[in-house]
């Protein structure tokens, strides 16, 4: 007797992002096994990320290197300037990159950290004398050459710098990994006079020993990240009197460039994944929640194999926190608008982007550094090149893993994807051999009333959806459904996938 065709509707598939931690069989279909070059869009759907548009037209000074760091300098006079580093140079500009490296100043590494403070932008990198730029001088100079500056030997050559509470704070010096230095109040070049000072926290580490990696200021706290522990001081407005507020053992920060502020939280990458300080009003402790619980192993694996930079950025406009393993060219995109049941951010993965640095400008634009110079996160091509959007569901058993499932039809509902070629894939029983059904989405250009009615395009109501019905083949106890598409100028969101299957006999 013929079996009744069952319809299993995967509504808003993968809107919880990637989950590689839980057993595929037990997973919620709302997770994805793979979500490459994807984001969670404003409707909670998995969608293709935006591409980047290269702004730079002259990258001579950059050569074949990549932009390793970007910072927007703004002062009270409204002057702005984009600084970046790469090719062992201090660079300014976005279209034509200009070498701003001071004369007779040799740079052999590009691990600079730039902070703006009191109408100046400061450049810090371990073992290098810090540099400074302001609009008045219009040139990047050594910090020790500024009027009122401490001697070059007295200025910490630190790898980490933080502008907070009216001072510059720095740490992570080659021969001193446990001391935080702070400058005089509002005077970033004075490190020996005024109210400048330092604190050696070698006796404060909860685990007995650690090394400072990063600094952060949050909720009137000075947060000192070690590799394996965190120390928070309160009252940093008066650093001579600041007191220890809390310590966290076993959780540290991997790299200073993974620390990002979200307004209500501080995100950072630890050895066990992405972490954050949750802000509490009543309690004075610092609860730490794991935000990458769904991809912990992946994160750890990437950490262990990373040999280059870590870069991150938080974009409230896009609603994500990007964490890039530059050496592996992998970027994890954490959607910060909400968390899953286990408290983790929804996460997708961007691969082979070539992104090497980020900065969010004051106006919300997201600038991306690549080997092409400086790009803007916009559009749906990577510098006019398509990129592959991938979605794969976890293994689906449709509630009964003991019966055979025979896929009959797959009905994806896509939003956007103008003229995109879409590959719908499926496979059974954890096998890597996928069956593929290809189709091309038609013209999805919207025609708004009064703009292009009855002329160029068909009058539409907004983003267009496309629903297809594709025949599937094969059978198995578990099914993985995937969708891939080359994003080439148009957005693509996966609204749902309706799977029509026959439930077979018991195995």
């Amino acid at each position: 007797m013929a079996q009744q065709l069952q319809s299993i509707n995967l509504v808003a598939p993968a809107f919880k992002g990637v989950n590689t931690e839980d057993s595929p069989l037990a997973q919620d279909p709302s997770f994805a096994e793979v979500a490459d070059n994807a984001v969670i869009d404003k409707r909670g759907r998995i969608a293709a990320r935006k591409g980047h548009s290269v702004t730079t037209t002259n990258k001579t000074v950059l050569g074949s290197d990549s932009i390793r760091s970007i910072k927007e300098f703004r002062d009270d006079g409204g002057n702005t300037k984009i600084f970046s580093v790469g090719n062992n140079k201090i660079i300014s500009g976005t279209t034509t990159l200009v070498d701003e490296t001071p004369g007779s100043y040799t740079i052999t590494a590009d691990n600079w950290k730039m902070v703006t403070f009191n109408d100046k932008i400061y450049f810090f990198q371990g073992t290098y004398e810090p540099l400074v730029y302001d609009n008045a001088s219009s040139s990047v100079v050594k910090l020790s050459t500024v009027a009122g500056a401490s001697g070059a030997s007295d200025i910490p050559k630190s790898n980490e710098v933080l502008a907070a509470y009216g001072r510059l704070w720095c740490a992570d010096i080659s021969n001193n990994k446990s001391t935080v230095f702070w400058s005089d109040l509002l005077i970033g070049q004075n490190w020996t006079g005024g109210t400048s000072g330092s604190i050696d926290i070698s006796k404060v580490w909860p685990d007995g020993y650690d090394e400072i990696v990063a600094l952060a200021a949050h909720n009137s706290l000075l947060i000192i990240f070690g590799k394996h522990s965190i120390v928070a001081y309160q009252g940093a407005e008066a650093p001579a009197s600041m007191t220890l507020a809390d310590t966290v053992a076993g959780v540290g920060c991997v790299d200073r460039d993974t620390v990002q502020y979200t307004g209500t939280d501080v995100l950072f990458l630890s050895h066990t994944g992405l972490k954050s300080f949750g802000r509490t009003i009543q309690e004075k402790s610092l609860p730490i929640s794991s935000l990458s619980g769904n991809i912990t192993k992946d994160i750890i694996g990437s950490l262990q194999t990373e040999s280059s930079f870590f870069r991150s950025v938080y974009s409230p406009e896009e609603g994500f926190y990007l964490l890039t393993f530059v050496g592996q060219d992998i970027t994890y995109c954490f959607d910060v608008r909400g968390t899953t049941e286990n408290g983790s951010y929804r996460v997708t993965r961007w691969v082979s982007t070539g992104f090497t640095s980020y900065v969010r400008k004051e106006n919300g634009d997201l600038l991306i550094g690549t080997s092409n110079g400086i790009s803007e996160y916009t559009g749906y091509t990577d510098n006019a090149t398509p990129y592959r959007f991938k979605y794969y569901s976890p293994s689906l058993t449709f509630g009964d893993s003991s019966r055979i499932k025979i896929l009959k039809k797959l009905k994806p509902t896509l939003v956007g994807a103008n003229n995109a070629t879409v590959f719908l894939k499926w496979a059974y029983d954890f096998k890597g051999t996928y069956s593929t059904a290809e189709f091309t989405v038609g013209d999805q250009i919207t025609g708004f009333f009064g703009e292009s009615e009855f002329t160029a395009v068909e009058f539409t109501g907004g983003a267009l959806t496309n629903q297809r019905s594709l025949n599937a083949t094969g059978y198995g106890t578990s099914v993985v459904v995937g969708l891939e598409a080359d994003i080439d100028g148009s957005q693509l969101s996966l609204q749902e996938i309706n799977v029509m299957a026959l439930i077979g006999k018991l195995l």
Partner: protein, 331 residues
């Protein structure tokens, strides 16, 4: 008028020989060229002088006058001798008489006159108890003065060490307490350009340094106060050391007053004695002087009579006068 000394009336005495020839006149006449010139004059004078009425009164007058002269000289000698004897006697009478005083506590005060130099010397002696006390007090004064003359820096350092020893324990506890607090606050490693370490550390260091400075200042003040105190004590001890002596001297005051009264009475008695003695001497001198004057007057009268012409028998007159004169002299 009665002739107490039987001298006779002066007119008689002086007028003896006035009658008859006048030798003087005769001599004058001889010198002026009457007779044999100068030798005549001398011959006349000798004749005149050898007359009984002239020779005897003249001799007696001369003798009496010489006797008066000699007596006046003896009167002066006797007055001087008497005055000297009186002075010697008064000197002995007014000479200082040594005395001694012995107090109830056994101290003694004595005076004596050096027999050789005549200087008045005093001696004072304390009782053994007083001497012991005096030695103790003076020795103590010496000790205090020695202490007062020492370098105050030495005592200052000693006092400072004592103060520091008393406060170091508390300071160490405060330091440890602060260290614990700072450790609990994670601030042990704070180093600031403004405070050096933490403000609390600076405050504590400042307080401790201030306390140390105050301790040093206090020690210096204390050392100097002690120096002054020792000086004062030395002075007091020194003064007290002389108290027995002062008390001895005070105890001699009544005796000295008595001695002064005695001396005064002695002087007064000697004065009265001298005055009385001098009165007697004066009276005797006056009487002797009067007798000498009388003899002189008699001698003068006899001489005058001898060279004055007498109407009566010169021998009779002369003998009568001599009898009267001598009778008066030896009455």
């Amino acid at each position: 008028m009665d002739d107490e000394y039987n001298i006779g009336t002066p007119s008689d005495v002086l007028g003896a020989g006035a009658t008859g020839s006048n030798p003087i006149m005769d001599a004058s006449n001889a010198l002026s060229g009457g007779g044999n010139g100068f030798f005549d004059f001398l011959g006349g004078l000798a004749d005149y002088a050898t007359q009984p009425g002239v020779l005897l009164p003249g001799i007696l007058g001369g003798l009496l006058t010489g006797e008066a002269y000699g007596r006046l000289s003896d009167i002066g000698k006797q007055a001087r001798t008497g005055a000297e004897a009186l002075a010697e006697q008064q000197l002995q009478q007014t000479q200082f008489r040594p005395f001694t005083v012995t107090t109830a506590t056994g101290a003694g005060f004595g005076t004596r006159v050096d027999p050789i130099t005549g200087e008045v010397k005093t001696t004072m002696g304390l009782s053994p108890q007083e001497q012991a006390m005096q030695s103790q007090l003076l020795g103590g004064a010496g000790g205090f003065f020695t202490g007062a003359m020492q370098d105050p820096a030495i005592r200052e350092q000693e006092l400072y060490g004592q103060i520091r020893a008393a406060t170091e324990a508390d300071e160490r506890m405060e330091r440890l307490g602060l260290e614990e607090r700072l450790a609990a606050q994670g601030r042990l490693g704070v180093r600031t350009a403004q405070f050096g370490g933490t403000p609390e550390q600076l405050a504590m260091e400042r307080a401790q340094q201030q306390a140390m400075a105050q301790a040093r200042l206090g020690a210096a003040q204390q050392a100097r106060q002690e120096q002054v105190q020792q000086s004062q004590l030395g002075g007091q001890f020194l003064g007290m050391g002389y108290v027995p002596q002062q008390q001895l001297l005070a105890a001699t005051q009544p005796s000295q007053q008595l001695a002064a009264l005695q001396q005064q009475a002695q002087l007064q008695g000697a004065g009265l004695f001298g005055e009385a003695s001098m009165s007697g001497l004066e009276s005797q001198l006056i009487a002797e002087q009067a007798r000498a004057n009388l003899l002189g007057q008699m001698g003068t009268g006899l001489l005058s009579g001898a060279f004055t012409p007498q109407q009566t028998s010169p021998t009779e007159s002369l003998v009568g006068d001599m009898v009267r004169q001598f009778g008066g002299l030896f009455n």
